[in-house]
């Protein structure tokens, strides 16, 4: 089985290429994705290969990009709209939340919207308020949407393949901080990572970390560097999250720390904490802790204070270790 060392940009690009080759109903659309290959170069070379009818440089209108993609999906195509930065998505929010997400339900199952909306999210690239946001909770809170976020190139390919097979709208969140910072061995062949299944990326017995996206390598590195005996769960699917894997791990370790970049209040950490509180409170040996972005807008110059880091994760580890 042949494979290549790829970064996440290359993994997504080659996956789109592979899928487009075999299915002419796949259409990419977005701002600067064609000739320019996208501001992060994720769609580099695809317009030259598949033409401007299939890799569409659209006018600058997020609600139009998503709205158009919805109409394409309803008419037999498989659109992959790109929103250049997740921070720009909000003018399209109504199309996502009121059209795409509710179409199957409101039409009694007659219509559905098989669309994979790709968008880079999160901080760590000095983007300030409008190029750094992590808005996954907005989408996870909407029935009808499926929210995915890979943490490495291998998962990016496998999750994207599953997303493209789905008959429902998918929000595919790409942690832009990891676009080029890590490489992994990516098989040339097609493989899929099931939606709704988390990965246990580090195994231990004394505490459980739940995280996803850009925070996965930071948590794993911290745990490895300090020889912490911990389970680290990479959600991969944010909604519907893999409750079973989280529950089994917490029952084993009795301690839970959730790490994400998005603001703490009403973030995924709040949901997972409540989930465990409802089901496994008698297994808990320490308070559930959240290491998250603070509830302030994402700052430009001081972003390293905003994003969870080794120091803050260690503090949480020390705190749960006080409970025996």
């Amino acid at each position: 089985m042949s494979s290549k060392q790829l970064n996440m940009v290359q993994a997504i690009n080659s996956t789109l290429d592979m899928l487009m080759k075999e299915d002419d109903s796949i259409i990419l659309l977005g701002e600067d994705i064609g000739k320019d290959g996208g501001v992060f170069r994720v769609t580099e070379g695809l317009q030259a290969k598949y033409g401007s009818e299939r890799v569409i440089d659209t006018p600058l209108v997020e609600l139009g990009i998503v709205g158009m993609a919805i109409g394409m999906a309803l008419t037999g195509l498989k659109p992959v709209p790109e929103i250049q930065f997740q921070d720009f998505i909000f003018t399209a929010f109504d199309q996502i939340v009121n059209q795409a997400a509710k179409m199957r339900y409101r039409s009694g199952g007659e219509y559905n919207v098989p669309m994979v909306l790709r968008t880079p999210y999160g901080g760590g690239i000095r983007g300030g308020l409008y190029h750094s946001q992590s808005g996954e909770a907005y989408f996870a809170h909407t029935a009808g949407l499926t929210v995915l976020s890979p943490s490495n190139p291998y998962d990016a390919k496998g999750l994207l393949i599953s997303a493209m097979k789905s008959k429902d709208p998918i929000i595919f969140l790409e942690p832009k901080r990891l676009y080029r910072s890590i490489k992994s061995d990516v098989p040339d062949e097609k493989y899929s990572i099931p939606i709704g299944k988390a990965a246990l990326v580090h195994e231990g017995s004394k505490m459980t970390f739940v995280t996803y996206g850009s925070m996965v390598p930071i948590v794993v590195n911290t745990v490895t560097k300090h020889s912490i005996d911990a389970d680290v769960i990479d959600l991969r699917t944010i909604m519907p999250y893999d409750g079973e894997t989280i529950l089994n791990s917490v029952k084993k370790t009795g301690k839970l720390i959730i790490v994400h970049e998005a603001p703490r209040t009403l973030g995924m950490g709040a949901e997972i904490s409540a989930f465990i509180g409802e089901r496994a409170v008698d297994y808990l040996m320490a308070p559930i802790l959240r290491v998250c972005g603070p509830d302030i807008p994402f700052p430009y110059k001081l972003e390293e204070y905003y994003m969870p880091n080794e120091g803050r994760i260690l503090k949480a580890i020390n705190r749960v270790q006080e409970f025996r």
């Binding site: 209108v61 158009m68 008419t75 199309q95 199957r104 009694g108 559905n112 029935a143």
Partner: protein, 330 residues
């Protein structure tokens, strides 16, 4: 179908729609229907366009298009089932009345926020063009919708990509309580020019004029694969919805059955063209009324959908979260 048959069919749909409208408004007052957005006054413009379309053409309609649906063959029972939200409703009782959907007749499912059907209509047209098919897309909306970002986005995209879309603005002069003069400073049809597309205005109260214009435009859009904005001027004879009292903000310009009522105008012309006699018209109207009464009474008896249907169709397959919530509630 010759011209006469076409217009007789169109008139019958107008009369049927009017009968249905009156019945539903009455039933709402009696507490038998929850809510409704009357379509009275907009029959001619919708049916005039519908006459020019093929079955395969796709309609991204809004919530005041019952005449359009009836003319294209959607059975009145299907419309009433949706209004009642009963066990036979295609949408399984999920949407409030007036939010229809029918895949069989190529009507898209309706949402409440206005104009949000317009951008998807451009995507449907893109798909048609990409597959080199011959059908076109129609999207309908009121005058209020022309102020939204969705209208702007869709008009621009349709023009930039040369898409076969008919934008039908059903200008009934009122967006709930706001008159069209306060909605926009220019005539709606003129906005097309700014996007680089053809725009035109037509008397939407006259079935014959509307059909003539629609026929030309449908043919042109199909052939040239380019969009058009048609402003069909009419009048919202009824309230915005059964929850609205227009006496608060306006004096009625046109009333049910008056000279300027599109139904009256159509009847006059049907007689002039020798398509129908006055007696035949009366018969069509009373048949429509009886028919609607009968269907309404029958559909009203149907039960609500079973509670477990509430938890289907969120996704292709339920996830564990929905299954768990269903278990708790039912």
């Amino acid at each position: 179908m010759d011209e006469k048959e076409m217009f007789v069919k169109a008139y019958k749909a107008m009369a049927l729609s009017r009968a249905l409208d009156r019945k539903i408004v009455m039933a709402q007052r009696q507490g038998r229907v929850g809510f409704y957005t009357p379509t009275i006054g907009q029959e001619a413009l919708q049916i005039g366009l519908s006459m020019a379309l093929e079955n395969e053409d796709i309609v991204y309609q809004y919530y005041r298009d019952v005449p359009f649906m009836l003319h294209r063959g959607v059975p009145p029972a299907t419309i009433i089932d949706q209004i009642m939200g009963n066990s036979s409703d295609i949408e399984k009782g999920r949407q409030m009345p007036s939010h229809f959907s029918s895949k069989q007749y190529n009507f898209m499912s309706i949402q409440s926020p206005v104009a949000t059907n317009l951008p998807p209509a451009t995507g449907a047209a893109y798909a048609i063009k990409y597959r080199k098919k011959n059908n076109i897309v129609v999207t309908t909306f009121g005058d209020g919708s022309t102020s939204t970002p969705d209208f702007h986005a869709a008009m621009n995209l349709a023009a930039v990509f040369d898409l076969p879309v008919i934008f039908l603005c059903e200008n009934n002069k009122w967006a709930i309580s706001l008159p069209v003069e306060k909605q926009t400073k220019v005539e709606i049809w003129k906005k097309a020019d700014a996007y680089g597309m053809k725009g035109l205005k037509v008397d939407g109260n006259d079935l014959f004029t509307m059909y003539e214009t629609a026929k030309k435009e449908v043919e042109r859009v199909r052939k040239e694969q380019k969009p058009v904005l048609i402003e069909a001027v009419s009048y919202r004879i009824g309230p915005h919805s059964t929850s609205d009292d227009p006496n608060k903000y306006r004096t009625a310009e046109i009333t049910d059955g008056s000279e300027k009522d599109p139904l009256t105008i159509a009847e006059k012309k049907m007689i002039e063209h020798n398509y129908l006699t006055a007696e035949e018209i009366e018969k069509i109207k009373s048949d429509a009324k009886d028919n609607i009464e009968k269907i309404f009474d029958e559909r009203e008896k149907l039960p609500a959908p079973s509670p477990d249907t509430m938890f289907t169709d969120v996704y292709e397959k339920n996830n564990w979260i929905i299954d768990e919530e269903k278990e708790e509630i039912l």
